[in-house]
Symmetry: C2
Subunit: 416 residues, 2 copies
């Protein structure tokens, strides 16, 4: 039994994590939410209280300010708050400092996105080997449970891969992870999570084909797929975190990630990228000030959490998996539908933050109950998927499975 949760990060995902932790604080204990900007934490706490989500009112829900890039500060915060579980949903730059603090103090670590070095973009695959897996042995030595990438994608989609391998297939040929947001926020343009991290994702595409890494251009390969509920949507081959562990842990020939983009999004993205406005490299303006264009762009774009009140429509994220069972070909689509307005109704958030924020809380409950407290570093597909998927069914992210779904047909993808 582990208890008391420290949430690092007060963005859109941290907001959902705080709500769901509060709704389950009889299991999770005291909850502290910490960020560089404490008033963002306090705004989240206000939302939790407004929604009456503090299940056990004898437990604490409070805020702290912290510089998550500074290991001693995070160590001190973990000790001060007596937290045994850290859910890190801060910017991807802080992952390794927060992980180090967890290893040092012997507490559970979780994150929802891969670590990034601010000065590097789309490093060589597998990405987890560059930072996270270098700490695998130290986690094992110290008996530290570290669960990497336990959001939705990565996260739930990895658990579905494990489930598919276990229950649905004897052999797997391809896994196509399809992520489409068929919702509408009504703004001229906005990203659904931190624009900085969002745009850094779209530089090049590393994908896993015939058990090899293949490099492709961004937004170059399109497939139109007839999704359940949300209907026909174009998706584009995209690089994504989960491929960098699934390629190692799941026995499949090809594992690819596809993201939905509308024409307007692609047009704006193309203009911004062609002009260099998505660049993380600082430049000097005529007046001598040095600044990375991406930082300016981020300051101009709507705060993703501000989109929530008016967001309508649904997301669909699913794994299209092709293989054999009992020597017969099998194809399934295992997916979740999430409705923006329902998320707002429940936790004052939109579906993108919701789908990323609920899973780490489910994982925290499995750890609190001892089921997932594995005392070493794992990616999600290495854990037993069943209790996780069951828990999510009751926490707002139900899993659906279609046998013989609409066919997903990718073109031949060759390396550049």
């Amino acid at each position: 039994m582990k208890k008391n949760v420290l949430i690092v990060g007060a963005g859109g995902v941290g907001h959902v994590v705080a709500h769901k932790c509060a709704m389950n604080n009889d299991v999770l204990g005291d909850i502290c939410i910490a960020s560089r900007t404490q008033h963002k934490c306090d705004a989240i706490i206000e939302s939790v209280l407004r929604k009456n989500h503090l299940k056990d009112t004898t437990k604490k829900l409070y805020s702290r300010s912290v510089d998550a890039m500074d290991i001693p500060s995070v160590i001190q915060l973990i000790k001060d708050t007596k937290s045994e579980i850290v859910i890190n949903v801060g910017q991807a730059y802080v992952n390794m400092t927060v992980l180090e603090a967890c290893i040092e103090t012997g507490v559970v670590y979780m994150d929802t996105a891969i670590h990034e070095d601010p000065d590097k973009v789309c490093e060589n695959p597998p990405w987890y080997a560059n930072y996270e897996w270098k700490r695998k042995d130290r986690c094992a030595e110290k008996g530290v449970t570290a669960i990497l990438g336990i959001g939705f994608d990565p996260g739930v989609v990895n658990a579905w891969c494990a489930l598919a391998q276990k229950d649905y297939f004897d052999t797997i040929d391809t896994i196509d992870i399809l992520d489409v947001n068929a919702g509408s926020h009504g703004k001229f343009f906005a990203t659904n999570f931190d624009p900085e991290i969002n745009f850094r994702e779209f530089r090049k595409v590393w994908t896993w084909i015939d058990r090899k890494w293949v490099l492709q251009k961004v937004h170059a390969i399109r497939v139109d797929y007839d999704f359940p509920v949300v209907g026909n949507c174009p998706v584009y081959l995209t690089g994504h975190d989960e491929l960098h562990s699934l390629s190692k842990n799941i026995d499949a020939n090809s594992i690819r990630f596809w993201m939905g983009f509308g024409e307007h999004y692609l047009n704006v993205f193309s203009v911004l990228t062609n002009l260099g406005l998505t660049s993380e490299k600082p430049l000097k303006v005529a007046e001598g000030v040095e600044i990375a264009p991406l930082k300016v762009l981020k300051a101009l774009l709507p705060d993703p959490s501000s989109l929530a009140p008016n967001y309508v429509g649904k997301t669909c994220i699913g794994n299209y998996i092709k293989g054999t069972k009992d020597n017969k070909p099998r194809e399934i689509f295992i997916y979740n539908i999430c409705d923006h307005a329902e998320c707002y109704q429940e936790v004052e958030s939109q579906a993108i933050s919701y789908t990323a924020g609920v899973p780490p809380v489910a994982a925290a409950m499995l750890i609190a109950r001892g089921e997932w407290d594995v005392k070493h570093m794992v990616n999600v597909e290495e854990l037993d998927p069943k209790p996780f998927i069951e828990l999510l069914d009751n926490m707002g992210l139900p899993t659906e499975v279609i046998e013989k779904p609409a066919t997903f047909t990718a073109p031949v993808i060759e390396s550049l």
Copy 2:
């Protein structure tokens, strides 16, 4: 007889002014080119020498660095260089400080664009009344010749209005100034002059209709016109400097300005503007740095002078004028065609800089010869247009006139 020219500003227009002054230095005397960044002046001088454009090699061509926002520095520079004619082609923010220095020292002042306050955009019309005309009396008292807006547009187009009123019409109903660049620079996106000044132009549209100022939206009213030489091009109702003096000095019911834009330009502009990237208002990024997005955009866009070597195609700028002569209706199109590659061949510049840079040198020659040395402040249409237009015919900017041109038909334009 006045002599010795001080050129303030070493951008694309300053480049052309320096070439044309050097080619006429038997009349104009010594030439100094000064800017905040002296090496830009030196690069221009290298270009002039490379092209063997120093007609009288006993005359000097040299550079100085100057802060043109600082009146005493400009006064000192005028005295040091013994300049009697100042051609100001620096950023529009320095006009009033350079003018003050000219009034103080009693030398000739010229510029090619209206003064701008960095913190204000598209002020109330007529713009000249906000800054320039407030110095009219002092110019007259000191006997200072100040010619405002003596580029192409404003500049040559104003002289054409004066010519039309004098020789072609008894009454003028409408003047439509049409400016189209049918050239291609081969870049994803670039502005043809300082992007900062360029984008500041496109906030709102002040236009002169039925002898009243009318406010309209940018890029909202389109007309397709079949231009001579360059053919059919879309142009959009745009606000522009010359309307702010022509409305006072030319007896016409309506005077409007139209600029050509392609679909790609409008798309990029729309994305940038909708996202706030063309804003001159400083914002603070998460890391605390304060910067105006427009400054960052400017730093990212190609330097307009870098476009010159690969620019192909032509510009067409002309006045479509409708009125009566001898009690009969008359319509003329009075225009110039300028070829980007020919400009580069001659002075290593593109046609946009060329069309703006040649006219002030023609004016300097008319002043040196005494013909335009009027000893007070004027807009171009207040001067005798004939010697100016004749001189330009021989300096690379010939004027053509078509009687009964293709019809230009504007829709009814109402105030917002």
